[in-house]
């Protein structure tokens, strides 16, 4: 079957080529049976809302963002084209570089911890005999509570004067001086990672649990008969079979964590001394608080190359999986 015309890039083609493609499409439509034509029409009708939504709420803001990043636009003024000047300025900005480094640290630690804890919880839930439904439902709570609300609660728990965590640790005799959770650069970063892990672990656990339940118990039985101990069963059976699910969950989480905003904005506002600023919080600070829309857009788009690579890898991995299954 010849490649469909949709896979070409119409805007990149010269006019005669486009006309040729349109003619081919029109020709195929004319040659199609009445039923096929109806199906095409139905497909078009069904696709249109999604295409309009994608165009309005994804494609347009994205293209507009790229364009804004090339302007010296401020609130109320479109601005002039300045090429890559906004990006050069950001490159020379210490705070931006700090925010970039923070974002990688934050994403790296938070995602790794969420995977580890999510896997442990999923394995425990998978082997649980009673209380399954209640435990699964309660475990999801951190994930379904609005981030703003739960983060405000954490902010109170981290309060240097009124922290309930400090109070408990003090009365249990673990500490003699209060811990300033958000006061130092390392502690503040550790604390925001902790909250992110608390919030994100249920997503990992539930998805991995769904993956675990698709593994045939016979495989474990065979491994046990072959003398595999629990660790070997996990490492040689569970882990490889769970890898496709794990990869997809990891990639989704990396994208979400990398672009995180609410949590840091509420807990620290990027402080103390910019030690917890992320791409998104710094972009907001420049673009909205200072009104420099062009620079703000550039700071926000600086995330794009990394996220683009993540998406490319994700699509490649999923296609590879589909190809593998198809050829099997």
């Amino acid at each position: 079957m010849p490649a469909p015309a949709e896979s070409a890039t119409p805007t990149a083609l010269p006019k005669p080529a486009m006309t040729r493609l349109a003619a081919i499409g029109l020709g195929r439509f004319r040659r199609a049976s009445r039923t096929e034509r109806r199906e095409w029409l139905l497909a078009l009708i069904l696709l249109t809302p999604a295409l309009v939504m994608l165009g309005l709420f994804v494609a347009y803001p994205f293209v507009r963002g790229i364009w804004l990043g090339l302007l010296d636009s401020v609130v109320g003024r479109e601005g002039d084209f300045v090429g890559l000047r906004n990006y050069v300025k950001l490159w020379n900005d210490d705070i931006f570089r700090r925010a970039a480094a923070n974002t990688f640290i934050y994403t790296g630690f938070a995602t790794s911890l969420k995977l580890t804890l999510g896997m442990i919880v999923a394995l425990m839930l998978n082997n649980l005999i009673g209380w399954k439904r209640i435990l699964r439902a309660s475990m999801l709570l951190p994930w379904i509570v609005p981030t703003v609300l739960s983060t405000l609660a954490w902010k109170w728990m981290f309060d240097p004067t009124f922290s309930i965590v400090n109070w408990i640790l003090y009365h249990l005799g673990f500490i003699r001086l209060r811990i300033d959770w958000l006061g130092g650069p390392v502690m503040a970063m550790g604390s925001v990672i902790l909250v992110n892990v608390w919030r994100g672990t249920p997503f990992f656990a539930i998805t991995l649990l769904a993956g675990l339940q698709t593994i045939n118990p016979d495989v474990y039985e065979a491994a046990s008969i072959d003398g595999a101990n629990p660790w070997q069963r996990f490492w040689r059976v569970t882990w490889p079979l769970l890898m496709p699910v794990t990869t997809v969950v990891m990639l989704f989480s990396v994208i979400q964590t990398f672009a995180d905003f609410q949590l840091v904005y509420i807990l620290t506002g990027g402080g103390p001394a910019n030690s917890t600023h992320l791409f998104a919080t710094y972009a907001y600070q420049i673009g909205v608080a200072t009104g420099k829309l062009g620079e703000g857009a550039a700071a926000s788009l600086a995330m794009f190359p990394f996220l683009f690579l993540v998406v490319i890898f994700q699509l490649w991995y999923i296609r590879r999986g589909e190809g593998g299954r198809g050829s099997a």
Partner: protein
């Protein structure tokens, strides 16, 4: 977020006939306001706005619900008399910036937005000229304080009509100062250091927020910097002059205060942390507006009885304040600019503003000098120290204009983080070098 609409029928209070309303407004606005409501009165007929005209005002949630009620009643009265619908929408202060940006970019939204600080400078292209209203009020009410002019006068025109500033002072526990053998509040930063040392030893440290939070941390750090003779740029708004002896002394003093007198939790405090700590009896002194005092009056009478206010300590260069300012701006995209200006003129007129200002006594600072002797400042002597900070107030970016560059330095917390870095162990010289470098990048762009 609260959204309240005026009712055309049954506005609160005694119904006022339209003619009487216009006369009263005219009397309070004075002859200087001719062209507004008096102008309408002179014309002998009520203004004609198309049926269904709506006026939308966006403002922050006020600390005083009573003041909000008075403002809303005035909006209702204005709407009723002018035959229009006035919608007053209140949201959190931090969201005002986002909403304003979105409204200007979209060219739609509220007709009037009460902007804070130097935001009229930042969104100047989206605002209408309100010089006629601002100048009429200035003439009638004895002139504006410099800080309001700095924040709302852009280029050669007013882009906001000054409404109110929020005062600040040192909140302190009289009883604990007496216990420490201190008879009066420290007059200088050095004295504060000595007194703070004693208080901290007694278990009552001084409290100060150093986190990334808009008001208190900036109020403190800019005030301390200026009082030691440090400032960001020269009057040209370009030449960065932060790297000077006074700035270094301010950093060193702050380091000493941190080690000897301040509560160690301050690095992660935001605007509300010191309120809670003071009311819980954890700290003895803190920089704040009158909100702690009013909260204490309502809920903590034991603390209310033993607390008081004092001016900021002096440094070698004097005593200074960085105060949040609010101005009423008319949006350029508004189709009701004339009506919007009428409304601002109405609620800023003596009669209306006086009622609003009165219930906020001690919390809000007046934009014009005629309110200096208002009884609100002397009814409770403990609130009197909150009256005069406006005279010594400066806007960030001093000695230049409070421009977008000044705002960038403020929103990036450069001055605050200079002090924080030194607290965290960077030498004062290195912290100063870092802040100077950041300011140069901002001001040279």
């Amino acid at each position: 977020m609260s959204r309240e609409r005026s009712k055309r029928d049954g506005a609160r209070g005694i119904p006022v006939p339209r003619r009487a309303f216009l006369k009263a407004a005219a009397a309070s606005a004075g002859a200087a306001a001719l062209g507004g409501i008096p102008g309408i009165l002179a014309a002998g007929e009520a203004p004609a706005y198309p049926k269904g005209t709506k006026l939308h005002l966006l403002t922050r949630l006020n600390f005083f619900p009573t003041a909000d009620k008075i403002f809303l009643a005035q909006a209702e009265e204005f709407g009723k008399q002018m035959g229009v619908e006035v919608q007053v929408e209140r949201i959190g202060q931090n969201d005002i910036v986002t909403r304003t940006t979105a409204a200007i970019v979209a060219g739609a939204g509220a007709d009037i937005i009460i902007l804070h600080n130097n935001f009229p400078h930042l969104v100047a292209d989206g605002l209408a000229d309100v010089s006629d209203v601002a100048e009429a009020i200035e003439k009638e009410q004895g002139g504006y304080y410099d800080l309001f002019r700095a924040d709302a006068y852009v280029g050669s025109r007013w882009l906001g009509v000054p409404q109110v500033a929020l005062s600040t002072a040192m909140n302190y526990r009289e009883d604990w100062l007496k216990e420490a053998g201190v008879s009066r509040f420290p007059d200088t930063w050095e004295e504060l250091r000595e007194v703070g040392k004693k208080l901290k030893a007694m278990g009552h440290p001084v409290g100060q927020a150093f986190g990334h939070s808009e008001n208190d941390p900036n109020t403190y750090s800019y005030s301390l910097l200026w009082s030691y003779g440090g400032y960001e740029v020269e009057r040209d708004g370009k030449t960065v002059v932060l790297d000077r002896k006074g700035t270094l002394e301010a950093i060193k003093l702050n380091n000493a205060l941190w080690k000897e007198a301040l509560d160690e939790g301050g690095l992660s405090w935001d605007d509300s942390s010191n309120n809670r700590a003071f009311l819980a009896g954890s700290i003895s002194i803190t920089t704040n507006g009158a909100s702690i005092y009013f909260q204490a009056r309502d809920k903590f009478p034991n603390i209310h009885r033993v607390m008081n206010h004092a001016p900021h300590p002096r440094g070698p260069a004097g005593r200074f304040y960085h105060l949040p300012v609010h101005s009423s701006s008319v949006m350029k995209h508004s189709k009701n600019q004339k009506l919007a200006k009428e409304f601002i003129r109405y609620y800023m007129a003596k009669e209306q503003y006086g009622k609003w200002f009165d219930v906020m006594g001690g919390y809000g600072l007046m934009p014009t000098k005629m309110w200096h002797d208002h009884p609100a400042w002397t009814r409770d002597p403990k609130l009197t120290p909150l009256r005069d900070p406006i005279k010594d107030a400066r806007a960030p970016g001093y000695a230049g204009a409070p421009s977008r560059k000044a705002s960038e330095a403020l929103t990036k917390y450069i001055i605050l983080d200079m002090f924080v870095k030194a607290i965290q162990g960077v030498t004062p010289e290195e912290a100063l070098k870092w802040a100077t470098g950041e300011l140069r990048k901002i001001y040279s762009a």
